[in-house]
Structures are given as structure tokens and as C-alpha cells.
Amino acid sequence: MLDASEGYVTEDGRQIGGVVMEMKNITLRFGGVVAIKDISFDIREGEIRAIIGPNGAGKSSMLNVISGFYVPQEGEVFFHGKKRPQMRPYEVAQQGIARTFQNIALFEGMSVLDNVMTGRLNHMKTGLFSQALWKGKAEREETENREIVERVIDFLEIQHIRKTPVSRLPYGLKKRVELARALAAEPKLLLLDEPMAGMNVEEKEDMSRFILDVNDEFGTTIALIEHDMGVVMDLSDRVVVMDYGKKIGDGTPDEVRTNQDVIDAYLGVSHD
């Protein structure tokens, strides 16, 4: 089913394109702890790629490497076929890679609308002085940004809390606002660290639907981390399985589900 060069067609008939992001032999250490051990995998245009694994497997670390928050000791990152030099997180974001955090990082002092608006900061071209000099241009840009923000807010069904300070929102809605902020950046690649963690069944279903819709309507490439096997199987096109910093499986949900190493890791056969 997988074609190395030209992409593939998913079970539900979506065409997946070429490689957007390629991780080559990534190794990341924290002192004595090896969080990621010589892992390689790729993410293709238009797909939903999942990273799964038990607690402490190194999933978040991998997402942090992709988004520039962690710098691996070894390995290379290729973005759109070009080797990426070491980049700071803000530079990665400026390349069109947006993310959410496992522990939610929102601007707690701002309203939902202002939070989502910060997702547009990258797209605001007009500098400080031209803002003062060419008021018209700045205003046009502002209107454009607002329109996109409103569209995202509608899309994620959070109109009713637009003006609410984020600090007052329940956990599930915060996760959704964080997704909205990432979407407002119109990313080429969207990284989600456990977007459904800590949610109830209904909220999980909503979030799953949003993720599928984002991928479907905007064609956004998505890499996500998730604990819940069931959710992963429903959502993703291909899955990387990590355990103790190593990659122990990579393939379609069906492939990894029947992989003996994966089964062992999830049943805790080889450790404890």
C-alpha cells in the first residue's frame, strides 16, 4: 500500500502526497536519560500521522524536536526535502509549523479572541513604522486577519466564548482554544500533543471530528500524539509506535495493531 516516492491513497480514498517532514536518526538525551534513540520516520503531505506509546516513551520529546523546542544531539531534520539547520522554536513556527502542548500553553490573561488572534502574528507583515505611516494598509491587514480568526472560531464552534477570558474556561474548551490558535496560523504542518487527554467521551468525539475536518477541509498535514488506541485507530493514516525512546512499530493502524512488539509494549510484557 505504501509507495516510497509518490505517496499513497488512504482506505477512505484520500490522496496522500510526498514527504513533508523527515526525521533521520534522531537521538535526544537529557543527561543520562535517552528520550529518543536513533529514530527515523516521515510525515507526508495531507496525512494524519500518529505517534503513540506508553508513558515516558519519548512522544512529546519527538514533537518538541520537530517544533524546535528540543535540540537533538544526533540526527537530521528535513522539511520539504531540505535539510533544516538548527532552528529556534519561533523560527520553526515562522516556517508554518504550528503546535499545541500536552499541558496547554495559552495566554491566560487574554480573551479567547485575543488568544486566537496571536496565531496571526506571523502573518502580520506591516512593521511598526509603516503601521504608523500607512494606516490604510495596516487596517486592511487587520481586517483580513480578523476574518480568518472568525472563520476558525466558527469552525471550532467557540463563538459563544469569544470574549471570555481563557483562564475561566474548563479544560476541554481550553484545549479547543489552543487548537484554534494553532489553526489561525494556517499551518502547513500541525502538531498536536495529546489533544484529547483529560476529556470526557463527548469532548473526545468533538475533538476527533474537528481534527478530521481540519485535515479534510484545509488539507492540513497533522501529526498527533495520543494515548487512546481506539481514537488513534479511527483518526490516523499511519502510526509510529515508541517505547523507551525506541521506535518499535511504524505503519497503518492495522499493521501496528498486529505487530507483536507493539502488543508487548502495551501489555507491559517486556518490562515492569
Binding site: 519561533y90 515562522q94 504550528a98 503601521q131
Partner: protein, 333 residues
Amino acid sequence: MPESLLYGTEVVLNGLMAGVLYALVALGFVLIYKASGIFNYAQGVMALFAAMTLYGIMVGQVPFAHLINAIFGTHIHNFGWEVPAIIAIVLTVVVMVLFAWLVQQYIFRHLVGQEPIILFMATIGLAYFLEGVADLMWGSEIKALDVGLPQGGSLWIEENTQWLGMGNENFYGFFLDQLDLIATVIAAVLVIALVAFSQYTKQGRAMRAVADDHQAALSVGINLNFIWVLVWSVAGFVALVAGIVWGSKSGVQFSLSLIALKALPVLMLGGFTSIPGAIVGGLIIGVGEKLFEFSIGPLVGGATENWFAYVLALLFLVFRPQGLFGDKIIERV
């Protein structure tokens, strides 16, 4: 109007004007504290340094003249030219931006994520270092800074408020210092500009984002380093304005760096993270200390202005530790 009410009004007006200046100095603190969690002890010395640099440029002083002369056996002190105030101010702004960059690049960049107390200690070090540099660069003698701001009482206001006395022979109209008036206008404009900047510009929004959450700010593509240089630059500019006003009033001398101490009670009142808090806090302290001195001062032998603000701040610390508008402190257990 009864006489005491007239004098009381005059006291309040003078207090408001002093308060705007306190607010201005406090703003410098709030800006840096909000964006980086650093309590910048050096803010007062920055005002001193800015004022000395401005004076030095205006009169054509050669920077580090003593040092140069000592090393090379020369006797240069002056370039022999004078620079108009407005150009000198622009040049001083450039110097303060350069200072901001150096501070970020060589000190705080390496201290990201450190405990607040360590950051605080670093600013104490910075304060004394900068004081030394200022001394070495421009000399320590008192300088009479004159950028052309008017001095003395405003006759116009006196004449036009005399009627309020309604024939009272002892009332000559309100006495308001022209420099204080100008300073109030400048400070007010600056405060409004700062608020507009942080609300409506890309950089201002990024500044607020950084103030709120570093991780989140990074994830939306904000260059923290750049924002911190920007914030230190703005604080440097605020310090320059405070330095000009205070320096015009009582000369540029080392005691100028003590205006930072005036900002402390303002911050305790207004909260360390609130721009409106700094403004209102400044006004309350300005008016409060003048009124207290006017009404209670004579009973206790005067000089209450030295301690009143601190006592007020202490009361606030006890009853409302987060200040008037500061972010609520919620104990996590």
C-alpha cells in the same frame, strides 16, 4: 471658596503632577517585569545614565575623557561643539537601545528560566556597573540639564485662577510649576502612546503575549530575544524621559537614581504587572503624600513625604498584596 479649600486644591494639583512622574518611573519597572519577570533594580540608574548621556552629547563632552587622558597623556575634554537638544535626545535614544541590546545579549539571555531572585541580583549588579560606567564616561559633577523646558511658576495660571478666591486678599491664584505642567503632559502622552503601542501594534501584541506565557509565545512564532530587547529599549526611553524631567528640575546628579525608590511604593500599590495600576498608584501616592504633608505634616514636624508613601504601601501589602489591579495571587496547593 474658603481659603483652606483653595490651598487644598492647589496641593492636590501639585500632587497629581508629582504622581504622573512617579507613574512614569513605575511604568519602566512594570514593562520589564511583565515581559520577563525581572524586577529591574537598575531602572533608576538608567534614568541617571540617560540624563548624563543627554547632557554629555548636548555640551559636546568627550566620553571617557578621563580614561583616555590617563592612558594617552592627552588633555581632551570637549569636542568644542554643541548639539541641539532634539538631536541629542535622538542620539541618546540610540544609546539606550544599544544599552538594551547589550544587556539582553550579554546578561539576561544567559539567565532565561532562572529564579526571580537571581534575575534581581543581576539587575543590582547591573545598576552599580552602569553607575560606574556613567561616572567614567561623563564625570560625576552635577550637571545643569537644560533642554529648553520652561521653569518657574506659571503666571498665566496664577492670573486666571485668582478669581476663585472671590476677593480674598491672600489668594493670588494657583501656583503651579511650569516644568511640572509640561512633565505631566509629556508623561500623559507617553503613557497613552505606550498603551496604544501594546494594544494595536504587532510588536505590542507580541510583547503582551511574551508577558503572558513564554512557551505559547514561542509557539506562535515570537522571537523572545527581540521582544526583550524591545522592552528594555522602551524602558530605557521611559528612563530618559524621567531623567530629562528630574534632571531639568534639580540637576543631573547621582541622587537622580534614587527616583527608583519613589517608584517602589507606587508598584506595591498598583501591582507589579499592571500598567493602569502604575498610573493610578502614582497618582494616589503623589496626591496622598502632598495632602498628608499639607494637613498632618505641621502637626508632626513635617518631612512626612519621606515616609508616607512607604507606610501607605505597607498597608496595601498587608491588605491587598496583589495591588490595586495586579494579577490575583492564587495559592496553589
